[in-house]
Symmetry: C2
Subunit: 241 residues, 2 copies
Amino acid sequence: MRYELYYWHEIQGRGEFVRLALEDAGADYVDVARLPKRGGGVPALMRFLESRSVDRPPFAPPFLKAGKLVIAQTANILFYLGPRLGLVPKDEASRLWAHQLQLTIADWVAEVHDAHHPISGGLYYEEQKREAKRRAADFRAERLPKFLDYFERVMKRNPKRTDYLVGKAVSYVDLSMFQMIAGLRYGFPRAMARLERKHPRLVALHDHVSARPRIAAYLSSPRRLPFNQQDIFRYYLELDG
Amino acid sequence: MRYELYYWHEIQGRGEFVRLALEDAGADYVDVARLPKRGGGVPALMRFLESRSVDRPPFAPPFLKAGKLVIAQTANILFYLGPRLGLVPKDEASRLWAHQLQLTIADWVAEVHDAHHPISGGLYYEEQKREAKRRAADFRAERLPKFLDYFERVMKRNPKRTDYLVGKAVSYVDLSMFQMIAGLRYGFPRAMARLERKHPRLVALHDHVSARPRIAAYLSSPRRLPFNQQDIFRYYLELDG
């Protein structure tokens, strides 16, 4: 099965959580919007989003074509891919648990975005900078520690007593947690330097994932887009406290 | 199977999407935090959230106990309950599609909340009223129509040509859409009066769901909490345009 991932071509964004799973598994996939415009590119993505003949249209990218299926919502895509890529235990209870954690990561990602865009995704940062300062201060003081504490606790309580979030082997949730730590370090370097000391398991997980051979190869390849200021994780000095 | 739902006792909130599914199916369930404090009540909810012996702790309510399983994240709970309550088609493609729609509803709910709390859930509305006016204006002008248009389109394109969002019978997504329309009417009566004319299928779905015998019985029972100003859907004159 060749998977087709549809996501914006210039940012990591939410698509990155899917890319990391596909890359770690060595899956056969194409990143459609990053292909040449003959048959691919952003026009191919837009054509699909705007088509009137799609019975089950996505609300927004990312979406994944897998044979006849079209699946949207990042966590839903990973729920589907997880067992097929060997990135989640097969039993229902573990799949639901991994998905629950991924959905909590999705909530966290939305809060990261809103720290710099608290009023509207349709306005520039500069048009909501004052509000962003207030929201980012709350994010750093309340929300960021709350999410980090939660996931550190999840690792500590994993009944398999491993260095992973779910079960006894790496899962797509671990890959996503790597992305969270990496992104938060880019966006909030001072806040993270302070908080990481209290979350050694998450830091170790980040390092462990980044050293996995296929992930290491991906991160040093041109397929890995750099963090940038159009993305969900952004660095603004004034939002880092 | 007697399900145990854990959610705040004084609001509809995210728990209501689960309550509606359990009620429509006539499922055997208890709403734990609304039971007397001897064995239930909010203390029972807090005890579970704060317990150090839970291997797979929820980040936040709602969560559902189903035998030995503890499932959190509203959409995840509905994904689990759907086939068991006969509220989603059984094939994998339809289950993923229903879940995708439910996750889009979850994103919408978060935006409804942030329209009155754009800075922090830990501050009072009055402490972020100025920012809320700006965010709510964007919500009414951009986001609310975008979500309504999307779900109207989904109904129109349902290949089964029914009055439902998914397949040929009612699903938990339809029950959740009823709740969205009802809540938005409470929170944004003027904006909704203007927008409903362009979304006749969603309005008809709302009416159809509210007339289902078990839903009608639930809505007129004391089990249905009233909309109120501590909840996700809130009415503030100045946020309704």
